[in-house]
Amino acid sequence: MTTEELKALKSNLTVDARGTACPGPLLAAKKAIGEIESGEIMEILSADEGTKNDIPRWCEKVGHEYLGFFDEDSFSRLYLIKD
């Protein structure tokens, strides 16, 4: 998805994991995924560079659809659809 498309998305849940380093954002995402339904969108905020590689691999493994990310000033926003 392009940055514009990602920006236009309406997330069902935002997980702010900016206060934690690897593997914190993954743990936060894993905890929060139970709070939304299948087909809903989750947004993850992370200041950890590695998260941009880690979240897609997690999605690939457990079956969520990874949509992409875009960078803000000091962090990134990542998006996925729950399986």
Binding site: A21, C22, L26, K30, K61
Partner: protein, 188 residues
């Protein structure tokens, strides 16, 4: 027509059953599971083992950690004391780190300066502390097995080990059995 197709169907069904049994066997022998034998009691190595274990557990892999020898220092609870130890056990108890927060670094330990520096850096960069990691590990159902033989050898007792919900005591056979069915088997 009927006669010629029936045995084919039967053969296919048999073949399918055979394949099903084989897949089940294969699935059982290569579970989505991480087994680590942790022998080192260095802070950096325990940290690495815990971070990787947490990532694996978050990715829905079953994680089984087998703590033995020097790594057992990380499972000691500094608030607990065990009675009835002989002289050598007492000496070991005094000389080895009492708990996960007293571990030494494998490099740049500098008489304890290194771990202090690493801990302050970790805090600054929002890396979880070992205390938090063990808490998360418990939440994610990571299993910890204490090697009973090395625990006895080093003079530690069950009474001085940490309170952890998925803690058990076993021997090398348990690790070999766990590792044998895991898709990832490591040694740290």
């Amino acid at each position: 027509m009927e006669n010629s197709s029936t045995p084919t169907m039967e053969a296919l069904r048999n073949e399918l059953e055979r394949l099903k049994a084989k897949t089940t066997r294969l699935e059982k022998s290569r579970k989505d599971q991480l087994s680590i034998a942790i022998v080192s009691g260095d802070m950096d190595k325990i940290l690495a083992a815990m971070i990787i274990s947490l990532a694996a557990a978050a990715m829905d892999s079953q994680v089984k950690l087998f703590f033995s020898f020097w790594a057992l220092s990380a499972l000691r609870d500094p608030k607990k004391k065990a009675k009835g130890k002989d002289f050598i056990s007492k000496m070991f108890g005094i000389m080895l780190p009492n708990g996960r927060n007293r571990l030494k670094l494998s490099n740049m330990n500098m008489c304890g300066m290194g771990p202090v520096m690493i801990k302050s850096l970790m805090k600054k960069q929002n890396v979880m502390s070992l205390d938090e990691m063990f808490k998360e590990a418990a939440n994610l159902g990571i299993e910890i097995t204490v090697c009973e033989m090395s625990m006895n050898l080093m003079g530690f007792k069950k009474e001085e080990m940490i309170d952890y919900p998925h803690l058990r005591y076993a021997g090398a056979t348990t690790f070999v059995a766990d590792a044998g069915e895991s898709s990832m088997q490591w040694f740290i």
